[in-house]
Point group: C2
Amino acid sequence: MKIVLDAMGGDYAPDSIVKGALRALDELEDIEIILVGNENRIRGLFDNLPDRITIYHASQVVNMEDSPTASVRSKKDSSINVAVNLVKNKQADALITAGHTGAAVCSTTLNLGLLPGIDRPGIATVLPTLKGYSLLIDAGANIDPRPSHLLQYAIMGEVYSKYVLKKQQVKVGLLNIGEEESKGTDFLKSSHKLLSSSNLDFVGNLEGADVFSGICDVIICDGFVGNITLKVLEGFANSIAILIKKYLNKNLVSKLGGLLARNAFKNLYKEINPAEYGGALLLGVKGICIISHGSSKTKAIKNAIRVASESIKHDINKHILEELKLES
Amino acid sequence: MKIVLDAMGGDYAPDSIVKGALRALDELEDIEIILVGNENRIRGLFDNLPDRITIYHASQVVNMEDSPTASVRSKKDSSINVAVNLVKNKQADALITAGHTGAAVCSTTLNLGLLPGIDRPGIATVLPTLKGYSLLIDAGANIDPRPSHLLQYAIMGEVYSKYVLKKQQVKVGLLNIGEEESKGTDFLKSSHKLLSSSNLDFVGNLEGADVFSGICDVIICDGFVGNITLKVLEGFANSIAILIKKYLNKNLVSKLGGLLARNAFKNLYKEINPAEYGGALLLGVKGICIISHGSSKTKAIKNAIRVASESIKHDINKHILEELKLES
């Protein structure tokens, strides 16, 4: 398996991207890595890379200020474009980027194309819950979708849950402001109707308070609401560490308690932060593309590589195509 | 000050509503309470109510399945309608309901009317943050607003923060999926423009991860996104208790640590749960209306009564009208 990494994308690129790649090579025996980016800069930081890593030079980088669509055309030699084209030309099996999400969505959509039956790609993110993991889709690829896009997300999310997350029964819920099917905007009412008439195990509307409780395996929403939900959870997870410390330090007894329970807290912080999971899958494109958090460090990149290798192994797009045929 | 309570609204009505009223009377000397609802049922539960509580009979109750607009007309004698009319007829200074939010919004809008310059009411909720409190508006009154509605929410939120929450400088932020002003839907881009050209201290877009960090005093969003954000935070806050326990119980040392730090955790849970704050203000209507969480128990109702008494004292609507004049 060859996995290509956008070595220039993300807050800690290229340093953490390369370190993540090195860590992944230790853990996963059956992969090779292609780093795409400024070759001199990468070699300057890491002068002795193992044989299983190759560098593919790209002269440009998409910045956070760049327009997603324009950047695909104006920066043809950007690290993300070059990485996508390596997948397109079958020189790699999957790509990972922690750079500009919009640019990654545009570049993959335009260069790789969409699976037949899919009108828009969606970002599927694994969320920690009280009962394990749920999948939220869309986390930000499509902020103004139609109901039919949400149905496509639900089908792709179900397939991912079945084949990669190994869930036998996949319950699908629609994120809304109330449980009754009359709740929400016209867009949500139409989406509810469409999901109800599908072959999916659709359990109806789901409220914000249920996201973390894990009552659904797949949570469907538009990309705007999905992005806010995900980031609210991440912000809260990051804040909890600060708050717990603050409360424990209020007196000596609780401070001692905090010291004894130190490891428990460390493990807790890891479990509740969605950013720890390393990579969200961009579902719907002809190829495997992992969108990592901009703030990804070594471990998150290593996890993203693991997600990529699992998606390749389970041939996720083949199963999506089969499922789409059953639904149509 | 006379505060009217919808005694039939909420998951624990009328029991917790009446208990909350009794608790508030102990703490607040300058208030009287009117309970609106089924008199026999209330007297059956509490046979000896103090003089400062009166009961006003209402023969109907709005159920969660009722349509908000239809219920205002078809159930004229519902507890929420009767409570609103007591405010309209100056027999009370403020009203509180933990019942059907949509029905409360409709009944107050139709019966009390809106402040001149306000096109739609918005629910303003106090959120706990790392730096104290922020105000989120709208938390669910208006799920399909126009940019001008968001500007009105921002003005009302600023006034509330200044006069009730006693903040000297009020920073206003727009909840969006990125910091750049080019981010989000057309609705958000227009809202950003409108807020930028106002007299408010508008700091621009705010991401989901910043909600809990407290970098803004007033967080503006549409009612759909606001409701999801609030409920996601509540759900997470409720889950944290379960998760912390789970991790502490993994070995004896951390279990002991947890016992020592028990009080610290209790205080933490209280601080981080938005549901603890008792009442959100429905801003924009001609009158003072507090929307409480459906799951409100005694303490939340007591807190809602405190919020109502403070809003009456600070004459919030007078200040909103002054501020609207300055902006226009």
